[in-house]
Structures are given as structure tokens and as C-alpha cells.
Amino acid sequence: MSQNGRGSETARRPPARPVPTAGAVIYGTLALLLIAIPQSVVNRLKDLDPGPVQGALLEAAESLEALSFRIGANAPYRRLRQLFLDVTGKKDD
């Protein structure tokens, strides 16, 4: 990795609207990951102390997880994860 991107300064063409572009990258990435691996958020929320906010967030995350399961969006993750575990001999907690 080039740390500071040295050497790319002159060739670099910045996007016309860098902040909206970077925002789209951040939110788009998070949204895709949320739909592809919703169980990560569900599991994390289950680890938090119970409370009204945690409860509401957990409910929303579980709805998303159900949707992801229904449309098969988390199937690639489950299959690839299993493949990785089989190949390396590792186990999930």
C-alpha cells in the first residue's frame, strides 16, 4: 500500500464532487455489508446491555436479517464462511 499515495499526486484526477462521492462510498459500502452480513450487527447488538434503544435497534436488525435471509442476500457469506472454515479447520464461536 502506498501510505500517502506518493507518486500518484500528479496523475490523480479527483472526482468533481469529492464529499458526496466519498459519502456515497461510505454509506453504500455499509448498506451492502448490512444486507450481506446482517447477523454481525444482530450479534453485536445482543452483546450490548439491554435497554430501550438496544431493544429497538435489535428489532430493526433482526427484521433486516430476516429480509436478507428471505431474499438470499446472506447466502454467499454463509457459503463462503463455511468453505473458509472447512479449508482451514477453524470453528466459529
Binding site: 500500500m1 501510505q3 461510505i26
Partner: protein
């Protein structure tokens, strides 16, 4: 809050848009980022927020005083007051028990039985980095290389800015503060470079460093006397890769995150295991610390201006202190002094450069690389071992007989290869990748980080331990 966590993703997803919405009102943006940084720090410790704030406020006031005073003993005294207070706080939390134990050992050797008190206090996270940032500011103001800031928020942000707060890079005051005078220019944002720094950092930490640590290095260093000499040798290499992937991952992500918020941080690593001399290594490893030590310790001790013996002494003091900065342990001091000795030997032998003079002739280059790489790996044994005794057990076992049994797994071997690849990827390749990314359509820009993080999640271990440099 660790970088590779859901919490940080949510935190950054809130901080990023708010910071840029406030960008035209620069002062509001800075106050917001100070607040966000304090929240980031408070996740670990609310108690020590007071130290963070007190240090910023105290150094802000002292720098203003240094700016007003004319040169003379009073001004010098004010600087020393700042140095003593900053190092005093660091010393109290980090080194007090170490020095008490050393004092008791010394007195017992002299036949005096002393019952000195130890303190039970947790080490405030980030205190070493915080102190070096503060000292950089005070000393630069004293040297009149930097005007004292009249803006409290600028100093609060400089010292607490969350990307560098916990484990660097150590950003010089004058480099950071000049970026706080005006609103950030969004056109200066390097999206491609930032995205690849963050993705590369996540891969190095979550995959390479973690698997090397949990599947191999920890066991080798836990009981070095029970390992084969091959495993001890590979353990040395594996730890070298692990600590590089761990630490450079943190600073890569920090640089990328800061860039996305409109602030530029200096480079902190430059493929250090390519170094052809130990001096070259220190130009590539933790660059912001080594240049800090060079400018604020080595040069102030006289550098190389007072003859050969004084130069060697200054190198040894600087490297010894550099070792001690990493922690209150004899191991870190030994590690620093070993590097200092190598630097002195290189000077004595007339090997001063990194690339040019050592690069002459392929054979000389290969020999320089082999010696430097193995010396650096050898010194990591002292850095990683919990005590000096266990370091010596490791070294003795390494050199006593040859046994070729190994516990290394294919996954660990793959991680070693991945770590090795990070040292040989040409800069032109990553620069080309960034240029391609910056000119690609938005869908590709989103898909690349989504797919890479997805694959990292597929191959990630359960739970991510903290970064090694958090303890420093």
C-alpha cells in the same frame, strides 16, 4: 473504540457528514471534531478525559506564555516547566512502578532493605502519543519555528484528534495546525488513496496480524524452550510481520480516515523490511517517531556536531530512550540499545546511507538486506518477550542445536507470504490502482470496498484483539 469494529463504522458514518456540513464554518467543524474525539476516547475511559483536556489546556497556556516572553532564563525555565510536567504525568502513570522496582533492586544489592510503595493505577491509553504531540508543540513554539496558537480549539483538536489519538502517527504541531486555519478544501481529499489505505489496513490487521498472533507467534513466545529451532526462527520472522501488519495497519487507517475528514497526516511506514542498513530501517519504520526522536532528542544532545564519541553517545541515549518510550521494561531498553549499537557500528564502519551506497552491486545489496533483516528480526525477540529472562531462553534455544519440527499451519504460512508481499509491492502499482479507482464509476467505487470488507469478514477470526501499539 477499535477501527475494525461496527461501532467505529457507525461512529464514522455520523462524524463524516456532520464534519463536512460544518466545513464552511471552520470553528464549528473543529469543535465538533474535538467533541467526537472526546467521545472516541471516552469509550475506553471517561476518567482520563480530564488528563486529555488538562494537557491540552496547560500546553495551550504555556505556549502563549512562551510566545510572550523574550529569550532568556525565564523563557527557558517556562519550557522546562512544560517538559517536566508533560514527562512527569507520563512518568507517573507509565514508569513509576518500574523505577520503584529498579530502585529497590539496586538498594538490595547495596544491602539496604527499602520498602517503597507501588501505585495501583491503570495506564491511560494514548498517553505516550499525547505527550509527544504536546512536547512537539511546546518545543517548536520555544524555537520560534511556530507561533503559539491563540485558538484553544486548534490545540484541543491537535492533541485529541481521534485518528491519531491512540497510536499515532505522531503529527508535528506545525504540520497539523496550518491545516486548521482555514476550511478544508474538499478537492484535496484523496478518495482512492484513503480507501486503499483503510482496506489494506483492515486486511493487515484483521487477517494477517491476527492469524499470525493467535495461530503461531503467541505459542512460540509463551514457551520458547519447548520449540524447535525452526519454529523459533519462523516465530521471529512471524512476529516481525505481525508487528508490522498490526502497527502499520493502525496508522494506515488513521491516515485514510483523517484524509476523508480533510486533514493530511505524514507517512509512517515505507516498506521497512526492505531496508539495507539499520539506519535505513529507521527511515522506514515508525517514521514519525524516529524523526521526532532525531529532532527533539538526538539533535538537542548535539547530534553529530561534537565529534565521534559524542555522536555515538547521543545515538545510544536516543535509541535507549526510544526503547523506553515503548514501555516500562528492561526488554524495551535492551531493544533500543541493540538498535543504537547497530547504528554506532554502521557509522564506525562508514555505512551511513540506506539506498545509494549500499545498493552498489547486487551482492552488497543482498548482503546488506540479509544482515539488516535478520538483525531487526532478532531484536524483535526482546521486544516481544515478556521478560528479559524469557528473551534469553528464546535466544539460547534458537542457537542450541538444530531441529526441524514445526507447528506452522498452511494458514500461517499463507499469512507470512501475504506479509512479505506488503514489502515488495511497487509504489507504482498502488498509485496506479488509486488512479484507476478515482476515475472509475461510482458503482465500482462502492463495490470495491464492499467486496474487500466482505471477503475480510469471511476470513476473519472470532473477535479482534486490540492493536499492539495501544499499550504504548
Amino acid at each position: 473504540m477499535l477501527f475494525p469494529t461496527i461501532e467505529f463504522a457507525v461512529f464514522f458514518a455520523i462524524v463524516f457528514p456532520v464534519a463536512w456540513l460544518l466545513n464552511e464554518r471552520n470553528s464549528a467543524k473543529k469543535w465538533f471534531l474535538v467533541g467526537a474525539s472526546y467521545v472516541f476516547y471516552a469509550v475506553w475511559s471517561t476518567h482520563y478525559l480530564l488528563i486529555l483536556f488538562g494537557s491540552s489546556l496547560g500546553n495551550f497556556a504555556l505556549a502563549l506564555l512562551l510566545g510572550r516572553l523574550s529569550d532568556g532564563p525565564l523563557r527557558r525555565a517556562a519550557l522546562w516547566l512544560g517538559i517536566v510536567v508533560n514527562l512527569g504525568v507520563l512518568g507517573y502513570f507509565k514508569y513509576y512502578n518500574f523505577f520503584v522496582a529498579a530502585m529497590m533492586d539496586l538498594l538490595s544489592i547495596l544491602g539496604v532493605r527499602a520498602d517503597l510503595h507501588f501505585i495501583e493505577v491503570a495506564l491511560p491509553i494514548a498517553i505516550s502519543f499525547l505527550t509527544f504531540h504536546a512536547l512537539s508543540y511546546l518545543i517548536d513554539v520555544y524555537d520560534r519555528r511556530l507561533a503559539p496558537s491563540r485558538s484553544l480549539v486548534d490545540i484541543l483538536l491537535y492533541i485529541s484528534f481521534f485518528p491519531h489519538l491512540i497510536a499515532g502517527p505522531i503529527v508535528r504541531a506545525r504540520i497539523f495546525l496550518e491545516q486548521t486555519f482555514h476550511a478544508s478544501d474538499p478537492k484535496g481529499m484523496r478518495i482512492g488513496a484513503s480507501v486503499f489505505l483503510i482496506l489494506g489496513g483492515l486486511f493487515k490487521k484483521v487477517i494477517v496480524a491476527n492469524y499470525l498472533s493467535t495461530d503461531f507467534v503467541d505459542a512460540v513466545f509463551r514457551s520458547p524452550g519447548d520449540q524447535s529451532s525452526l519454529d523459533l526462527l519462523l516465530g521471529m520472522y512471524a512476529y516481525a510481520i505481525q508487528i508490522y501488519c498490526d502497527f502499520s495497519a493502525y496508522t494506515d487507517i488513521a491516515i485514510g480516515v483523517a484524509d476523508l475528514l480533510g486533514y493530511r497526516f505524514p507517512q509512517n511506514f515505507d516498506q521497512p523490511y526492505r531496508a539495507l542498513t539499520v539506519q535505513d530501517f529507521w527511515r522506514r519504520w515508525h517514521i514519525t517517531l524516529s524523526s521526532w526522536l532525531r529532532d527533539y532528542v538526538y539533535v538537542r544532545l548535539g547530534g553529530s556536531r561534537q565529534g565521534q564519541l559524542a555522536t555515538w553517545r547521543n545515538i545510544m541515549i536516543t535509541m535507549g530512550l526510544g526503547g523506553l518510550w515503548h514501555g516500562a521494561s528492561v526488554n524495551f531498553i535492551v531493544w533500543g540499545l541493540l538498535h543504537g549499537s547497530a547504528l554506532v557500528l554502521e557509522r564506525a564502519a562508514g555505512i551511513t546511507g540506506g539506498g545509494a551506497d549500499c545498493g552498489r552491486g547486487a551482492l552488497r545489496g543482498v548482503a546488506g538486506w540479509l544482515v539488516t533483516f535478520h538483525f531487526v528480526c532478532f531484536t524483535w525477540v526482546f521486544f516481544r518477550s515478556p521478560t528479559i529472562e524469557s528473551s534469553l531462553v528464546y535466544v539460547r534455544a534458537l542457537f542450541s542445536g538444530v531441529s526441524f519440527g514445526t507447528t506452522i499451519t498452511p494458514l500461517v504460512a499463507a499469512m507470512l507470504v501475504c506479509g512479505g508481499v506488503t514489502q515488495i509491492v511497487p509504489r507504482s502499482m498502488s498509485a496506479g490502482l488509486e488512479t484507476w479507482y478515482d476515475s472509475s464509476p461510482l458503482a465500482v467505487k462502492v463495490a470495491v470496498p464492499a467486496v474487500v470488507i466482505f471477503l475480510i469478514c469471511v476470513a476473519s477470526p472470532n473477535g479482534v484483539p486490540p492493536f499492539i501499539y495501544f499499550q504504548f
